[in-house]
Symmetry: C2
Subunit: 386 residues, 2 copies
């Protein structure tokens, strides 16, 4: 039997599973653990979305409203709404540059088929582990570009080297850092000068509410060098519904045409019910609710930061994501500190080393839990003594 | 910029697009075309499924019933029901060997990541074009094993050669041929003896109602050499909902473990709404409706066959799929005949050469349209003169 040897290089994602096992064990022992280690949302969907999905479901039972295979690229009405939305962000994206997906996680790896095997990928860390894992599985060569406390976790293009693909997550998971227009311009110019394609992960772009660019396409030239991946998961509570979108500009080499060809043999589209639900994000009620929800999560993050500040922690100055990325005290390793946090303080956090180089010695707190849990955790955190 | 060179080998899927363009043109000219060229279902979903999806949607708006990320491998209740169903088919499949997917088309290519690049794939033709296309895109080496009128389109293992992967579609699209127990045993033994893994595409298994095996796992040894891919699309009308499942036995080398690892970095599961809808397939009402629906489509196929017989066509003796695969008259090529069929008789069929080697000189009629269209088409077909 033949195996994909790249699985060996992949190894086990032991950091998360170790933590999950520990939380599970503690809870089984009757302990109450406040889980700030998860990236999943905790608040329910909005009525505007669930009611639309409910009626779309029922419509599928009627001959006159039944629908078979969805278009592989997504339904036109949703793609039009996304295109319109880009206009309000100061970016111009045609609907035939927009492809509806079942979420960002899959697409992060799916796009690799455009570049083919043995591509050279530059991955800015700390970051979502799936970037490196998908590239490893596909057999690409990976170079990491770690950010750190020294540069305030703000990545700049490398001085040396050329790459086929560059992964940038803005606002960043786990650090919460959003890049400014000038910083993104440097990245776009670097990509244009070296022939690289930026994979711009905007899964948290709706959390960027302070005037920073929300799309790479707000930067001149980006439509010649960037793919953008976005999602309804975090701002619209769609983690359990699975919907996102990927932009591949027609001006980006041959990639738009090739992606359509790929869809023809690899994908049959996203459920109508899901897409109709996603459409309500762009309604006035959907926007009202989403904005309120984002504020709720960002306030959660602020509450956590105030507590960490009181206890004397250093944390990254990132205000645009639902995460707080903080330095472990006493030069403790990420895992050591997170174990201690569970054992002694009953709070689960994600060890920073799970996010790759630059993450060791840090931990991530999620602002997605409900307010009561955030407040309970902050009461504990502000009195932390090490 | 770096491109995946395999796109060049892929070429354009011109047969389908050419036909679709022709149908569109004719309709734009005001002509009425009966479309028997599509593999999509035409009858609506069952109430039992849509009502469950509707209530699941509404539940997602309530704090106490909201659900975030689904398990990547699928929800336990659906996997249990599938496992139970296998028992009734005389196969033993544990729920932790079952993985819920968003449909068969994606999975046909996704499984290639288990074997890694440069695998040797044997593809029995005529077949669904996505097998060859996904393998080409991944950079595998493909050997075709064409079946033909001479062997009644019943594939047997090759005498020579070893392969890493073997694609078998049973019941077959486009021919409708189902393999018997003895034939599948030959394939399983061949795979066991040569170290190959069979990718058993059972997308039409629910249409096999004549006592033939419906699962490869009814064959002794298959759990050591076969992956099975099934779908809710055709028998349950789920083409627009997107749900299927993939079985990777724990006894199949390391593949079950590796697939779980792959899901960890490449997939975030299928919508709860979709999975809850799929579950109703296994309810008594769901089964009652599905069986009735399958009978409807199979009767459609029989009506088409009677008409073709009257007109003197030779067609494949396949009774277990919603397709009829027939020989073009006068040794016409597939495309020539299908063009003539549209031009002179206003019926769209799929040219057999779209399904690869062995398909040239044939055409496929779909039994998925509504009865009235099938009857109208059969009136025309039985009087065909060439």
């Amino acid at each position: 039997m033949k195996y994909n040897d790249n699985f060996n290089a992949l190894g086990e994602s032991y950091v998360f599973s170790k933590l999950n096992a520990l939380v599970k064990k503690k809870r089984a022992q009757g302990e109450t653990i406040i889980d700030l280690g998860v990236g999943d949302v905790r608040l329910p969907l909005f009525d505007v979305a669930t009611e639309k999905m409910s009626t779309t479901s029922l419509d599928m039972a009627r001959e006159d409203t039944f629908l078979g295979y969805p278009p592989a690229e997504g339904i036109p009405t949703l793609r039009e709404k996304i295109s319109e939305r880009y206009k309000t962000e100061g970016a111009s994206v045609d609907m035939d540059e927009i492809f509806i997906s079942d979420g960002a996680k899959g697409e992060i790896g799916n796009v690799l088929e455009l570049f083919g095997p043995k591509a050279n990928a530059l991955i800015v860390t700390p970051c979502y582990p799936a970037y490196a894992e998908a590239n490893t599985l596909y057999g690409n060569n990976i170079t990491f570009l770690p950010t750190s406390k020294e540069n305030e976790f703000r990545p700049l293009p490398p001085y040396r080297g050329t790459f086929d693909i560059i992964y940038l997550c803005v606002p960043n998971n786990p650090t919460g850092v959003t890049l400014g227009k000038d910083e993104l311009e440097e990245w776009v110019n670097y990509a244009l000068n070296t022939g690289a394609v930026i994979i711009f992960d905007g899964a948290y772009s709706d959390f960027s509410t302070d005037g920073y660019p929300t799309s790479i396409y707000q930067i001149q030239g980006a439509k010649y060098c960037a793919i953008e991946i976005r999602s309804f998961s975090k701002s619209f509570g769609f983690t359990g519904i699975r919907c996102g979108y990927t932009v591949i500009p027609k001006t980006l080499g041959e990639y738009n045409r090739l992606w359509k060809r790929r869809l023809g043999c690899r994908f049959n589209g996203v459920s109508y019910i899901t897409q109709k639900g996603a459409e309500t994000f762009f309604s006035s009620e959907g926007q009202k609710q989403a904005i309120k929800r984002i504020k709720y999560y960002k306030t959660n993050a602020e509450i956590l930061k105030i507590a960490l500040k009181k206890a004397g922690f250093w944390f990254v100055n990132g205000n645009s994501s639902p995460y707080v990325f903080a330095k472990c005290p006493d030069n403790l390793s990420s895992e050591k500190f997170c174990e201690k946090l569970i054992d002694d303080y009953k709070i689960a956090a994600t060890p920073g080393n799970a996010f790759g180089e630059g993450g060791e010695g840090y931990f991530r707190l999620s602002a997605f839990p409900k307010r009561e849990d955030i407040l309970a955790a902050s009461d504990i955190l502000e009195n932390l003594k090490f």
